[in-house]
Symmetry: C2
Subunit: 455 residues, 2 copies
């Protein structure tokens, strides 16, 4: 029996896609120029047991398993492999439990991040990790990539909120890792190992996340800057002042213009670079902190700055931040960088990105979770311009080199996938790469879990 036949006999017809035209929308994520192939089938399971059936069939046939959330990934981690199966979690999107006393939620992997946040809000609770893709991306994908986001600068990333999970292992078993209790150190932290492993060590079928109480409204502080390096210095000044913003985002003029051209939001583009800071410390202390952030902006050469008194205006600016990537994509292929450098190195790294842009004649727009040192230079190329593509890819590699030189990492939150495999090999020592292979071999002995990704 072929894998195709095995799936046909074991998976309900309405959960199985084998039509190449329909499969086409399931076989790659949003990474530019990352290769993908046509799989044998796409399965859209409704239960963990169906996932287990698929994995066991793939083990029996030595076939690759690629897991997919919403496909918003930017590194190619969910790109399909020939001869394998894509497990798409769009039909496993139930919020199984929100527990106010224990402050946790249990969800299926296909739950959209914003949907979980909305459901938690009804209980006075909050799930903090908020990747810019939150309106579309799923918790399963967020966990698989250890997604970050805007509020991470104060509240941490996805791994800080994962208590436990259910996983189908590389040997086809359905297991529970982690816990539901507030603390627990029983055995190795296999749940933490799964977070960020991009589907290479198992398939996540359920996640238990920690929640926080809802927080107070944020104050928004906006600063305009003439140059990206000046904005970078303001970011460093905020850190040096000892402030803990609840967001500190950078967005440049090109991004604002692209969003405005698309959504007609009436955004001002009087500045080359805009910094959007937020403070959610309650009461007068928060007011004082907002004033301190404003002073940091001004000391660093802001051409204009203000604490926004108009909540709608502030929300529009943050929406623009979230829409920057899709807005730029409308203009042509966009290769998205995701380096993270020490906060002290932010001005220098931004200056180097400008120089790299000039040297490689590549148009680079910038958005950044600047308060974390997590920069997203966006390398924009014209459609169907092979030379421009090669220049952009060279610039991309040089940005990685420079981030490592400044003590940074090749990926802050998007994951390694396919696009950062070269960067990973640069970042990790050969002995650490060997540890990765040892772990991969131990937990995925058949080598079927998202093969060819990460390492």
């Amino acid at each position: 029996m072929t894998l195709f036949e095995a799936l046909g006999s074991q998976i309900d017809a309405d959960r199985l896609i084998t039509d190449p035209d329909i499969m086409a929308s399931y076989i790659h994520d949003d990474a530019e120029w990352a290769p993908y192939e046509m799989p044998v089938a796409v399965v859209r399971p409704r239960t963990a047991e169906q996932v287990q059936t698929v994995v066991q069939a793939c083990i029996a046939h030595g076939a690759p398993v690629v897991t997919r959330g919403a496909g918003t990934g930017l590194s190619g981690g969910a790109n399909a492999v020939a001869g394998g199966v894509v497990i798409a979690f769009d039909a496993m999107n139930a919020i199984k439990e929100i527990n106010t006393l224990e402050r946790l939620a249990v969800v299926e992997p296909g739950v959209v991040n914003d949907h979980l946040r909305d459901a938690c809000a009804e209980h006075g609770l909050w799930y903090p990790p908020d990747p810019a893709s939150a309106p579309w991306s799923t918790i399963g994908g967020n966990v698989a990539t250890n997604a970050g986001g805007l509020c991470c600068v104060k509240y941490g990333v996805t791994k800080d909120y994962v208590l436990g999970m259910q996983v189908v292992t590389g040997t086809g078993e359905l297991v529970r890792l982690g816990r539901r209790t507030a603390k627990g150190v029983a055995g190795f932290d296999l749940s933490a190992l799964m977070v960020g492993s991009e589907g290479t060590l198992g398939v996540i079928t359920e996640v238990t996340v920690k929640l926080r109480p809802q927080r107070d409204p944020e104050r928004t502080i906006v600063g305009y800057f003439d140059s990206i390096v000046a904005a970078g210095k303001a970011v460093e000044a905020v850190a040096a002042d000892g402030l803990t913003p609840s967001a500190l985002e950078l967005i440049d003029r090109q991004c604002l213009l692209a969003v405005d051209a698309w959504k007609n939001m009436g955004l001002s583009a009087d500045a080359e670079v805009v910094l959007l800071g937020r403070i959610d410390t309650p009461g007068e202390i928060g007011d004082t902190e907002a004033e301190r952030m404003l002073a940091c902006f001004n000391r660093s050469g802001a051409t204009w700055s203000a604490r926004s008194t108009d909540q709608e205006e502030a929300d529009a600016l943050f929406s623009a931040r979230r829409l920057a990537y899709p807005a730029l994509e409308r203009l042509g292929p966009v290769l998205t960088e995701d380096i993270c450098v020490p906060k002290a190195a932010v001005p220098e790294m931004l200056a180097r990105i400008e120089a790299i842009s000039a040297r490689h004649d590549t148009h680079i727009a910038n958005i950044a979770h600047a308060g974390d040192g997590n920069l997203h230079p966006l390398l924009i190329t014209p459609h169907d311009d092979e030379a421009a593509r090669r220049r952009a890819q060279a610039a991309f590699a040089e940005i990685i080199d420079n981030a490592l030189e400044l003590g940074g990492t090749v990926t802050g939150e998007h994951g390694v996938g396919l696009l950062k495999m070269g960067g990973l090999a640069q970042e990790l020592s050969p002995a650490v790469v060997a540890m990765h292979h040892a772990i991969k071999g131990a937990l995925d002995p058949h080598g079927i879990m998202n093969p060819g990704k990460v390492i």
Copy 2:
């Protein structure tokens, strides 16, 4: 060449202990009735390279490596093994860096937790994880066991603060895992895997930890209760009210009396059980929260309660909490439990512990990080009473059974070591145990890293 000879030729004489009388103080931790053996040698390295030399010698001779911090562990995780080497980190206690801008510290494993906290305070920074052993225990040991503590209920455990580390691996290589940047997802989270692995996957030679800004002074709320179950209900009420205390500790009369008998602190013992709550939310909001906690105590049947206005008195109560374990140890052998249950199960679990105490005719005192559901029943036995020891061990096992039945874990923060190996096998499914063995085999192929512990 024997291992003994190899160490003699490769390790400076002043770093090497082979005299059994001196070794005796290095060969076990503070766990009651956990077996240990006399090693070949104790090495007190000054550098990571010396650690590497020891590990390589042990690989060459197939000899066990047991790592030791301050020996305050309560599960036997640092107990020595015959034929092996104990690496004691008391001479590697340098704080290498405290970086205010990046909010991180780089330390050697032998740094005492409180020393790091004091050093951070000088920079206006704070390292939160505060096990009750903080005046003695070391960061290396805290990381190896993923230590918790008093403020975890609001600020999380050790793993939430570990950014990266340097490790000598099971293959004798000196590697860096993790990062220094605020975010990073480059490869598997091997640093998180090392946290809590109790020396079974490698030897930690340096740790990089995340810091927070120093916080505002805490308010202390004290409640007296007639029964431990009433105190448990107050803990549940605090959680149900949506409060986030910065500490919520339970200490019973026996512990207070034992501390007072030892330190003569003039502690009141008018209550069977005392709850010590803390709130560090700044300003008026914090005042309101303190009132709410007081109301929770009163609704749950507190016989007396007050917000402490005397900082010295409040500090004395928290000191008593920290001293409870050593104070009780003066009275006879103490077997320390470390279960963690869901917050809703705290009253029921405390009631069951009372019943178990009666059923097994075993004296059980109680301290607890109650706000986390992390309970430390302390099973006290007379000296040299074999029958009492057996009864205590039976009670210990039954407490574990009950914690699991209520959805809890066998160890909240002390680790598995030797004492919880049976409990771990009950808690984890066979497939998850198999994953542990696979990981252990992958990273410790020679089987020398703290063999016979955890799994």
